[in-house]
């Protein structure tokens, strides 16, 4: 499918925003400004953006512990996200969720998730809402190769097929579940094949190539919107950082990260592809880069200056009414 000039720029902006956001989070985390844990998405941008480019705010996604990229791709406010990571007032969750629970229901973002395999059952619920109320919306579950081994994921896939729900299961295989290779932990070495075994169309996409993910997602999402039921996509991708920020990454091969950054950088691939094809020129892309750098800088300035939640927030929002 030929993407418009505007759509290409939007996709690029979204991917660059994720990359710069994560690089900056790594920097700020190292300086001690961000409490807790962060799991960075850099390297996987083409997956989130390739899929979410087809979604509107009433379509839902559920994410993983590695959720910043999905949040940005789905339209969450970057400053609100940074405030949340810094545990400040005005954060998307008021500083009560943090990196692992970033959510924005108004943007159709059902939350990052601290539980591996926590999201897929929620996604089939969002898909059930869409089907029951005939909204024409879809719901997308982002899961990693690690989450692909969880029983909750299997249950969600089976029920999505049984009830013919408009759900898409995106498995981002970045090669590692925590510190263990996917080639060790995924018994059949074929996540898409396993999804197909549940009775849904399932394909593999190259996560280094935005266009490949975008096309696979288009087919799956159109099928779901048209009442054709669930699909799965295994996106083969890579992460440039560790499982979490500060991970010593003793499990990595020599020069592995350098090689990934040199050979498998989806941003570099995108840039080369669109400039060589004459779809966008380098100047336009550089302008996006500059705009994004400013956006991230502003977000960090706001997050550093922000106030922590008031002590009264400890006790609010447990119930709607009690």
């Amino acid at each position: 499918m030929q993407l418009s000039h505007e759509a290409l720029l939007t996709a690029y902006r979204s991917m660059v925003t994720i990359r710069r956001f994560e690089e900056r989070v790594q920097e700020e985390f190292s300086k001690g400004g961000i409490p807790g844990f962060v799991h960075l998405y850099a390297g996987q941008e083409a997956s989130a953006v390739g899929v979410c480019s087809h979604l509107g705010p009433r379509d839902y996604i559920a994410s993983t512990h590695r959720g910043h990229g999905h949040s940005i791709a789905k339209g969450c406010d970057v400053t609100g996200m940074m405030l949340e990571l810094f545990a400040k007032q005005g954060g998307l969750c008021g500083g009560k969720g943090g990196s692992m629970h970033i959510a924005d229901l108004d943007q159709g973002m059902l939350g990052a998730n601290g539980i591996v395999g926590g999201g897929p059952p929620l996604v089939i619920g969002a898909a059930l809402t869409a089907k029951t109320l005939r909204t024409g919306n879809v719901a997308v579950s982002f899961t990693g190769d690690g989450g692909s081994n969880q029983g909750t994921t299997f249950e969600a896939m089976n029920m999505a097929v049984v009830l013919q729900l408009p759900a898409i299961f995106v498995f981002e295989n970045n090669g590692y579940g925590e510190y263990t290779a996917a080639s060790y932990a995924v018994g059949c070495h074929d996540i898409a094949g396993r999804a197909a075994g549940f009775g849904m169309p399932a394909v593999k996409a190259n996560g280094d190539d935005f266009f490949d993910v975008h096309e696979a997602a288009r087919e799956a999402i159109e099928r779901a919107r048209g009442g054709g039921g669930p699909s799965a996509i295994e996106v083969n991708t890579c992460r440039f950082y560790g499982h979490h920020s500060g991970d010593a990454q003793l499990y990595r091969g020599k020069d592995e990260v350098k090689r990934l950054r040199d050979e498998r950088d989806c941003l570099k691939h995108f840039r080369r592809r669109v400039t060589e094809a004459g779809l966008l020129d380098a100047h336009q892309l550089d302008e996006v880069d500059t705009g994004v750098a400013n956006l991230i800088e502003q977000a960090v300035v706001a997050a550093r200056a922000g106030e922590p939640p008031q002590s009264g927030a400890l006790l609010t929002d447990v119930y709607v009414s009690y």
């Binding site: 500083g95 539980i115 059930l128 869409a130 249950e155």
Partner: protein
């Protein structure tokens, strides 16, 4: 007023709310039953028939038969609840929380808080509790205290058909996740139940019997055993005040404390196991907030700290009975420092 079983009362509550609100759906294993069979749908209506017949009025899209897949049911219901439906999900036996607790405990219960107050999760989980049918260790427990211990969940433990209907309607209209615990031996108990819809607010205990000597707090089926005990004790000149909290989260602390202030004595009767339970929770509440009123130690009448046995003879020993309750009340009443 017509007399109905708790099963009928629950079904009426579901039907009322499904008629009133098109976003109310029922989802679970065999909630109609018979999907894909020669005999066809509505073969069961849940294992004890509470939802039987509803599919005829509301159809397959609102009475949703699922595979045996508790995590997917609970997760789908939670996900549907935050996106615009009002699901009543059935966790057939509360014992099965073991295979799906993450979706209840880490997901549904925490959405509102961890998302900074932006989520509403109008989810009801209907589930069976209780021993007494030799259903053994994995189909007989009463784990409402486990749900009660989770911030973000509300927990309902009705003791009669009238309350069950009003509390279930309240649960469906509530915007928080509610675990609704139905004692499996009480489905055929009858009380007067109005035909129309009505609600009973959460956190308002029912004073089932008034008395000045000993406060007895009892839950679900134990309310009836406490009443049996109180009748015997009344003949001996000991007047029990029996309080049925009806909901364990929120808990009507004031009604319990006010009663103990008057009687100075508390016995808690709970079919659940004794450790970290509603019985210990209520005992702690009174020790903390009404200590000076106490004339005797707080006593708990509970199941032993064991799994539920299969053998009817052992199960009979497991479940608190009116004689045990009466014996403990007598001890408390006769206590001398």
């Amino acid at each position: 007023m017509p007399v109905k079983t708790m099963r009928q009362a629950l079904q009426e509550a579901l039907a009322h709310e499904m008629r009133r609100d098109p976003t109310v759906v029922i989802i679970g294993e065999d909630v109609s039953g018979g999907a894909g069979t020669e005999g066809g749908r509505d073969a069961a209506g849940g294992v004890l028939g509470v939802t039987k017949g509803l599919i005829k009025e509301f159809g397959e899209s609102r009475v949703i038969d699922t595979p045996i897949t508790e995590s997917a049911i609970m997760g789908a219901a939670a996900g549907a609840a935050v996106t615009g439906l009002r699901p009543v999900a059935e966790l057939m036996f509360s014992d099965f929380l073991g295979v799906c607790f993450d979706q209840i405990f880490n997901q549904a219960a925490k959405f509102r808080y961890m998302f900074g107050g932006k989520a509403r999760t109008p989810l009801v989980i209907r589930t069976m509790v209780g021993a007494g049918r030799s259903a053994a260790a994995q189909h007989s427990q009463s784990p409402y205290h486990i749900f009660t211990s989770v911030p973000g969940l509300k927990v309902v433990v009705p003791s009669n058909a009238y309350d069950a209907k009003g509390l279930l309607i309240q649960a469906i209209r509530d915007d928080d996740p509610v675990v609704f615990c139905e004692h499996k031996l009480m489905y055929d108990l009858r009380t007067e139940v109005p035909d129309e819809a009505y609600t009973i607010p959460f956190g308002e205990a029912n004073v089932v019997r008034e008395g000045d000597d000993v406060t007895v707090v009892a839950l679900a089926r134990m309310v009836h055993y406490a009443l049996d005990a109180a009748e015997k004790l009344g003949a001996e000149g000991i007047e029990c005040e029996i309080i049925d909290p009806r909901t364990t989260s929120p808990l009507d602390e004031d009604t319990i404390l006010d009663s103990v202030e008057r009687t100075g004595r508390l016995v808690v009767v709970d079919e659940a196991t004794p450790r970290c339970s509603m019985a210990t929770d209520i005992a702690a509440l009174v020790a903390d907030r009404a200590f000076s009123a106490l004339k005797a130690p707080v006593r708990r009448v509970t199941a032993p700290h064991t799994p539920v046995p299969f053998a009817p003879s052992l199960e009979k020993l497991y479940i608190p009975d009116p004689d045990r309750i009466a014996a403990v009340v007598r001890e408390v009443h006769g206590f001398v420092q």
